[in-house]
């Protein structure tokens, strides 16, 4: 097993005395709590004033700035798009599509960089301005690395086009040229400008020979003495053989031509054609790929990879990808010259030149403080089937590992978590379970948010989570006395036990207040009524009231009776039901048949026989008893009367 390359990083918590006390900690959903404590469980602790602070440690705090959020949002779109088109990616077009995706990512990074730059300039205090500026340079480095990876790993440029891509790469990232050019050209007499020769040199260093030639012609115009030399130089520049895209010549042809041209330059140098003008002479040497001459221009080159590319351009333009690393290593060494040691960025680029993808990813993970970059890059490389081909023990798992880390980080944020959901979706092994664990922890501050979360869970058939979330919301609703809301949540959760509980509350409320709340909900329960017996009863009971209100007494009567006889009515409610029957019994016309009346009487007897006799302890109790007895007596009377009338009516009907 490979050892970790460095010591784990240490984070210091201020103000905690490490000599005396230990630290205790706990995990929050997205952070860690730490506080000073002593684990020795004695009753009397030393009365030393200890630190009453608790520290909340979060990873990647810098991640949540406004500008970066846009980066996350847009890259999320690209990521999801990539996963979706994966199935359609076939054959030749696959590579170009993947390159396009890569360019998309890069443009997003650049856009973010631009914005961050604006913010940095506009920053009110220097400290935050510096912070933003450092963010800009980090983003710039990310784009630099990504671009190189695109060239080497995704585009897989072969010898020939490889150099052209690398040239583009360097031109994109060493951009002082344009402003310098504007400066010089904008001046009255460009060729007399102090930076004129610098400009020409850097144009040559970047292989922009046409532009260099134009500059030289200006020089030729203003100083006739060097006109001749400028013309020669210009010719050399014009005739340098390069591989243009779409060119049909083979590499061998190009090499030959280039060799020829190279020898011509050499000849001019030997003839001391440019001897009188040191600038032109140095240009010639540069174009011959003379290392010393190149190194003299360290400042203009500004970094070793520029040096590398220029060197290749003028000494080995048909370099093969596998040879890159040797040139890269020597370029780095020469450029640094033993004065300084490579920085992390240098190491990453070097790893890329060595085509060691894993090293690249590893170094990036260490150097960068958040997972965004490595997660997306690795995912893209995985789509290029590069990780597997490297025959690593867990090629595809590394992609998932990084995506999981990235997505978990998103969940700690109040609104970015929605992006995280999609990332988990595309992690086949542990994505689902990670999502399950994380999604329950999202604070459900508003109903909207809760609905959003629920929809996500339902779409993925995460029934456990749906149930638990609905239960939480239902309980909250019950505590705030919003019974209708509670009921609808428990129906959504298909939680029968809870539905029963809420229905009970409804019924109890009815008993106390004589009316229902949330009638709409109960009326429109539909098939959901079947969820629990109690709920069914509630629904049917309400229906009874409705039917009664519509004066369909016969229907109401039979409904009421069925409620009692079918045993779905809770016993505690029977009295109420019977009392509800009273007005029906007292009606002018006979509603309950004899049969039905018998059944009602049976129910009443069942009810009263079960009742214990109260010991008459206090007046309230006595009063209650009295009310009870009166009710029962009234019922008995009404039932008896009804029975009489019913028998009579039925008897007379039968008679005829």
């Amino acid at each position: 097993m490979e050892e970790l390359d460095g010591e784990p990083t240490v984070t210091l918590i201020p103000g905690v005395n490490s000599k005396k006390h230990q630290m205790c900690f706990d995990w929050g959903p997205g952070e860690m709590l730490v506080c000073e404590t002593s684990f020795n469980k004695k009753e009397k602790s030393e009365m030393v004033p200890s630190c009453p602070f608790i520290y909340i440690i979060r990873k990647d705090v810098d991640v949540y700035s406004q500008v970066l959020r846009k980066l996350f949002n847009e890259s999320h779109g690209i990521f999801v798009g990539l996963q979706r088109i994966e199935e359609e990616l076939t054959g030749k077009s696959r590579k170009s599509q993947l390159v396009r995706v890569s360019k998309n990512y890069r443009s997003v990074i650049r856009a973010c960089m631009e914005e961050m730059h604006q913010v940095a300039i506009a920053a009110k205090d220097p400290a935050s301005g510096r912070q933003f500026s450092s963010q800009v340079s980090i983003l710039s480095a990310m784009e630099l690395i990504w671009n190189l990876c695109e060239i080497l790993f995704i585009e897989v440029a072969p010898a020939g086009p490889l150099l052209l891509h690398l040239l583009d790469w360097v031109r994109l990232h060493v951009c002082e040229v344009d402003s310098l050019s504007a400066d010089v050209l904008g001046s009255e007499n460009p060729s007399k400008h102090e930076s004129f020769w610098n400009l020409v040199t850097i144009l040559v260093l970047q292989g922009r020979l046409d532009e260099a030639r134009q500059m030289l012609s200006k020089e030729a115009d203003t100083s006739p003495a060097s006109a001749g030399m400028c013309r020669i130089m210009g010719e050399l520049m014009r005739t340098m053989p390069i591989l243009s895209p779409g060119n049909t010549q083979t590499l061998t042809e190009l090499e030959l031509k280039w060799q020829h041209w190279h020898e011509e330059c050499e000849r001019y140098l030997q003839d001391c054609t440019f001897a009188s003008n040191p600038h032109l002479e140095s240009l010639c040497k540069i174009m011959l790929g003379d290392e010393a001459a190149l190194l003299e221009q360290k400042e203009l080159l500004s970094n070793w990879y520029h040096f590398l590319v220029t060197r290749l351009l003028y000494s080995n333009p048909t370099v093969k990808p596998i040879d890159l690393q040797y040139y890269a290593q020597s370029s780095l060494d020469l450029f640094l010259g033993g004065e300084s040691s490579p920085e992390p960025l240098d190491n990453i680029l070097m790893a890329a030149f060595e085509f060691d993808i894993h090293q690249v990813i590893k170094e990036c993970s260490i150097a960068l403080s958040n997972w965004w970059f490595v997660a997306h890059l690795t995912d893209l490389l995985d789509h290029c089937k590069l990780l597997q081909s490297h025959n690593l023990y867990f090629g595809s798992n590394m992609r998932e590992f990084l995506l999981l880390e990235y997505a978990s980080g998103l969940f700690a944020h109040p609104s970015l978590w929605q992006l995280g959901v999609d990332y988990f979706d595309y992690c086949p092994e542990l994505g689902r379970v990670s999502l399950e664990l994380h999604i329950e922890r999202i604070p459900l501050n508003t109903e909207q948010k809760a609905l959003k979360v629920l929809r996500i869970c339902e779409q993925r058939q995460m029934t456990e989570q749906v149930r638990s979330i609905c239960k939480i919301l239902a309980m909250k609703a019950v505590r705030n006395n919003r019974l209708g809301s509670a009921l609808s949540w428990s129906i959504r959760a298909k939680d029968a036990a809870f539905a029963t509980l809420v229905s009970d509350r409804f019924l109890r409320d009815y008993c106390e207040r004589g009316c229902f709340s949330d009638l709409d909900l109960i009326d429109n329960l539909g098939p959901a009524m079947m969820l629990s017996d109690r709920l069914t009863f509630l629904g049917k009971y309400r229906e009874f009231h409705r039917v009664y209100g519509e004066k369909r007494f016969a229907d109401a009567a039979s409904l009421l009776l069925s409620l009692m006889t079918s045993q779905i009515a809770p016993r505690s409610f029977w009295m109420t039901l019977l009392t509800d029957a009273l007005p029906l019994l007292e009606q002018k016309q006979v509603i309950f048949s004899a049969e039905q009346t018998y059944e009602l009487m049976q129910c009443l007897e069942d009810l009263t026989s079960g009742k214990p006799v109260h010991g008459g302890s206090d007046t309230q109790q006595c009063q209650d008893d009295d009310i009870e007895t009166t009710k029962v007596e009234m019922l008995r009377l009404a039932l008896a009367r009804n029975l009489a009338r019913a028998i009579v009516r039925e008897g007379s009907l039968e008679g005829s």
Binding site: E2, M32, E43, M47, P52, Y55, K59, S369, S408
Partner: protein, 316 residues
């Protein structure tokens, strides 16, 4: 930072399920609850009721409302509940003869159940049966000398859970782990008759076991438990088969000093260990099953470092 203004040593701090509230407890006998949304801190409640240092607090699952349990040297376990915006003592359990060291809520699927481990060697299980009533089951002599930590296993849905008929609860196999002064970790299982039986003994430590933590389930059939002890060792126990019978320990690290506390992150990918040389170290399992330290959280005077760089991972 949250300034708790506790007057004495803080013993435990726990975030609630959503990371919006923080509960802390201290030797000053109080339990405090803070609202820490958006980086702020608002003291919501200062709960007094214990007569001795409070060792641990634990939040119950939000579906039961806002409930917090605390245990203390005064041999009591108090359950606090938020009702209409105010926090009150909801229940007090005084069934132990000695300091109660650890409390842990069971997975919400089992209902509202609290396990408490005490220095009298017993573990009590409080189950909420409704209407403010709690049923108590006690396991006496769970550990000789004393029990220091309890931790529940994550709820595992037995078999295939097709839509159960309304109102019926699926049959979970409830398990938890406890660590004690007999150097043992014991795994307990609830039998069909409702009694708790010792299912397994995990032996590897040579001194008091200070903390056990059962890792959250990540969908794999393996179960993982972390344990730490006075002997300075932290073990990771894994059990591969579903029946949970063979546990194999792996030594995470041997520290130079007592290790007091271990805790898993939500998705069980990082283990935090507190102890030896006053550091909190974070560990992650690498590909080949080795555990690697990815970060140290150290205390010290001086500069503030705002972020923890955990960029290390292991390939190959």
């Amino acid at each position: 930072t949250v300034d708790t203004s506790h007057e004495d040593m803080i013993h435990d701090a726990q975030m609630d399920y959503y990371g919006t509230r923080l509960a802390t407890c201290s030797s000053d006998r109080s339990v405090k609850i803070f609202d820490v949304r958006n980086g702020g801190q608002i003291l919501i409640a200062d709960l007094r009721g214990h007569e001795g240092p409070v060792w641990q607090v634990a939040w119950a699952h939000p579906m039961y409302g806002n409930i917090l349990a605390s245990c203390s040297y005064d041999r009591k376990v108090i359950i606090w509940r938020e009702e209409n915006g105010t926090w009150e003592k909801s229940h007090e359990h005084a069934g132990h003869d000695s300091s109660v060291n650890s409390v842990c809520w069971a997975p919400h699927d089992y209902g509202l159940i609290l396990a408490c481990g005490s220095s009298d060697g017993a573990i009590s299980l409080l189950t909420y049966t409704g209407e403010g009533q709690w049923e108590v089951k006690k396991i006496n002599n769970a550990h000789t000398i004393g029990c220091n930590a309890v931790s529940w296993a994550p709820a595992v849905i037995p078999g295939s859970l097709i839509d159960q008929p309304s109102g019926q609860k699926p049959n979970y196999i409830k398990k938890f782990a406890s660590g004690g002064c007999d150097n043992l970790i014991k795994l307990w299982k609830e039998e069909e008759d409702g009694q708790w039986k010792e299912e397994q003994k995990l032996e590897a430590h040579s001194d008091w076991v200070r903390d056990v933590a059962w890792a959250p389930s990540i969908g794999l059939p393996t179960s993982t438990i972390a344990s730490c002890s006075q002997d300075g060792r932290v073990f990771i126990w894994t059990c591969d088969d579903a029946s949970g019978n063979t546990w194999s320990p792996k030594l995470l690290h041997k520290f130079n000093d007592v290790v007091w506390h271990v805790s898993w992150s939500i998705t069980a990918n990082i283990l935090a260990v507190s102890g030896g040389d006053n550091k909190v170290t974070l560990w992650k399992e690498s590909v080949d099953g080795q555990w690697v330290c990815i970060s140290d959280v150290n205390k010290g005077q001086g500069s503030v470092s705002a972020s923890v760089t955990e960029g290390q991972q292991n390939e190959q």
